[in-house]
């Protein structure tokens, strides 16, 4: 594909190069500015995380990670992500099914409401749960008499994380499910499959890449969330510190050793971000290729076009 357009462009350029392409000087100037911006704002900060964390050698790096408070922070982060991601996955699938496969009034409104958590400052989101479940909150007294702790405890941190990562799976899945249409499901039902079988064997396989895409983005945010979780955490070392909160605490104690430790914990989170990016890039490349394949077969066999327009139905 890429070489095709490249050739086409070359062909066009010989006729009217002056008007459709910048002079080589301008072109390379723009590339230099863009790359300079990327290096200073993206590449250096990323490389710096790993560099600083390993500045005093592997032994020190390892030591700061096996520290018991850091280990409990890692465990808590995994626990919170382990609860919130499946919850939002379940919601995402249900919401996408209802929104993409059916027509009803107020659909755009519902989609806007699902996106709402993206617009709200994480700190304000955290405060909302303090207002509901804190000492002076709506349910504060009731929770107090029943000795249930939500704020400054793990349940509040899970709630805050669920709120922050709420839209991820749904918003990735809705367009994918809309694109696949309903004919295949209709066919399966006509052939005698139950609703559940249809979902499991027809719908789910056709949206699996979009689903995975949403889940990894959701997971990255769940493990990295700082503001909202910070409000409801209470910052009890070894108990309610997640990895990002642990980074902050180590950073604030301001000794050289704790700074290296802060970078060590940060390097794990940066590694998670890199893995997320690699998977994301791979999934995008995959969908693009499927889409290109589908389009090519459409142009080659126009008679079959209606049934293979949609990339994810290729296999």
């Amino acid at each position: 594909m890429e070489t095709d357009t490249k050739l086409l462009r070359r062909g066009g350029d010989t006729k009217s190069q002056r008007g459709t392409e910048e002079s080589p000087f301008v072109k390379w100037l723009l590339i230099t500015i863009a790359l300079g911006f990327v290096v200073v704002f993206l590449l250096l900060p990323l490389v710096n995380v790993f560099w600083q964390s390993l500045a005093h050698g592997l032994a020190v790096y390892w030591e700061s990670l096996v520290d018991s408070d850091t280990r409990s922070a890692i465990k808590l982060t995994l626990l919170i992500a382990g609860i919130s991601v499946p919850l939002n996955l379940l919601f995402g699938v249900a919401a996408a099914w209802a929104i993409a496969k059916f027509n009803f009034k107020g659909k755009p409104m519902l989609i806007s409401l699902i996106d709402l958590p993206f617009a709200i400052s994480p700190v304000v989101a955290g405060l909302m749960f303090v207002v509901l479940f804190g000492r002076q909150g709506f349910f504060g007294e009731w929770l107090d008499t029943h000795e249930i702790k939500i704020i400054f405890a793990v349940p509040g941190m899970v709630l805050a994380t669920v709120f922050i990562t709420f839209p991820f799976v749904a918003r990735e899945l809705i367009p994918v499910m809309e694109a696949t249409g309903t004919e295949q499901e209709q066919a399966a039902l006509t052939l005698g499959a139950s609703g559940w079988q249809t979902f499991w064997h027809v719908t789910l396989p056709s949206v699996r890449w979009g689903l995975l895409y949403g889940v990894i983005l959701c997971n990255a945010r769940a493990m990295g969330e700082f503001g909202a979780v910070s409000v409801v955490s209470g910052h009890i070392t070894g108990q309610t510190d997640t990895m990002p909160l642990r980074v902050e605490k180590l950073y604030q104690s301001a000794s050289a050793a704790s700074m290296t430790a802060a970078f060590a914990v940060a390097s794990l989170l940066a590694l998670l971000a890199l893995i997320t990016l690699v998977v994301k890039t791979f999934l995008e490349w995959r969908t693009q290729r499927e889409f290109a394949l589908a389009q090519r077969s459409v142009s080659e066999t126009p008679l079959l076009a209606p049934s293979i327009q949609v990339p994810s139905r290729q296999q």
Binding site: K6, G12, K15, R18, G19, T20, K27, L30, I31, I33, A34, L35, F37, V38, F41, L42, L44, P45, N48, F91, A94, W97, A98, I99, F102, N103, L113, I114, L116, P117, A119, S121, P122, V123, V124, A125, L127, M128, F129, V131, L132, F138, F163, T182, Q186, L189, T198, L217, G224, F226, G227, S230, V231, P244, L245, E248, F263, A266, L269, L277
Partner: protein
């Protein structure tokens, strides 16, 4: 697209019911709770708490720094998107993947590494600090952090529009004798402008709510380098719930206004691209 699907698929009631209940419990009730509780105050009280001297200084910094950061992103993000779509150079795909780093990297990590980079003995700070440019523990630091978190928005909003732009129009302009600069100013720029503004608004909205990365790189001095979300947290830690809620309502109102503005902008931008 089938406008009205003949629909025999099962599960609408179940999935819709679950969606609405879950949406209410996780999102709508908490938002409603905050607004309800805040409205329990009188308007005068709410106004007084939301406009204390400390709060006003924090708004100025939050919105000022967010504006500069979003503007920086509008300029460099446009150049970056242009370069990524129009030119072929070694490492283009790698750079394209890098653009998503601010989305994927936890904000605490971003703040930590940026503060270190611009501090006196950091990679960039060792050259900048002797020149009197203090990127860490300063107001400039707030701008740097907010530029980082907002970076992908302009690029990712602009890329599909640039890809979809018909180059014939530019060719026609060229055939009619326009130079490249003239073509850019009178043909390309007007088409891109609404999209750049949309990207700017998205980056601005993201920056206004940002907390994690900023508190690492800012010196967090009240009335000087303290952002609005940090004032909320400080008030909460001092058990001044009403004060915290007053500021939260201000931020929430601004977030919702920006959300509506962005929706309108997107509609405006898409009108330019339906050929």
């Amino acid at each position: 697209m089938a406008a009205r699907k003949f629909n025999a698929l099962p599960g609408f009631g179940l999935t819709m019911g679950f969606t609405l209940v879950y949406l209410s419990v996780i999102v709508l009730i908490p938002i409603g709770g905050l607004i309800f509780k805040a409205l329990g105050m009188s308007w005068a009280e709410l106004w007084r708490l939301a406009t204390t001297e400390r709060a006003m200084a924090a708004y100025r910094l939050t919105f000022g720094a967010s504006f500069i950061a979003a503007l920086t992103n509008a300029i460099f993000g446009t150049i970056l998107a242009w370069v990524l779509v129009r030119y072929h150079f070694p490492g283009r795909r790698f750079v394209d993947a890098l653009v998503d780093i601010p989305f994927a990297l936890p904000t605490a990590v971003a703040g930590l590494t940026l503060a270190n980079l611009y501090s006196g003995n950091g990679w960039l700070g060792q050259f900048l600090v002797p020149l009197g440019i203090h990127g860490a523990y300063s107001q400039l630091g707030v701008v740097i952090a907010l530029t980082f978190v907002g970076l992908p928005f302009v690029v990712r909003t602009l890329q599909p529009v640039l890809e979809g732009m018909e180059r014939e129009v530019e060719e026609v302009a060229a055939t009619l004798g326009a130079g490249r600069l003239r073509t850019f100013i009178s043909v390309v720029a007007p088409t891109l402008f609404p999209t750049i503004i949309t990207g700017f608004a998205l980056a601005f909205a993201r920056a206004v709510g940002e907390y994690g990365s900023v508190i690492f790189i800012s010196s967090n001095i009240p009335r000087k380098s303290e952002i609005a979300p940090l004032v909320i947290i400080t008030l909460l830690e001092q058990y001044e719930y009403t004060g915290a809620m007053a500021l939260a309502v201000v931020l929430l109102t601004i977030s919702f206004s920006l959300l509506i503005a962005i929706n309108l902008l997107e509609r405006w931008a898409s009108r330019y691209h339906q050929h």
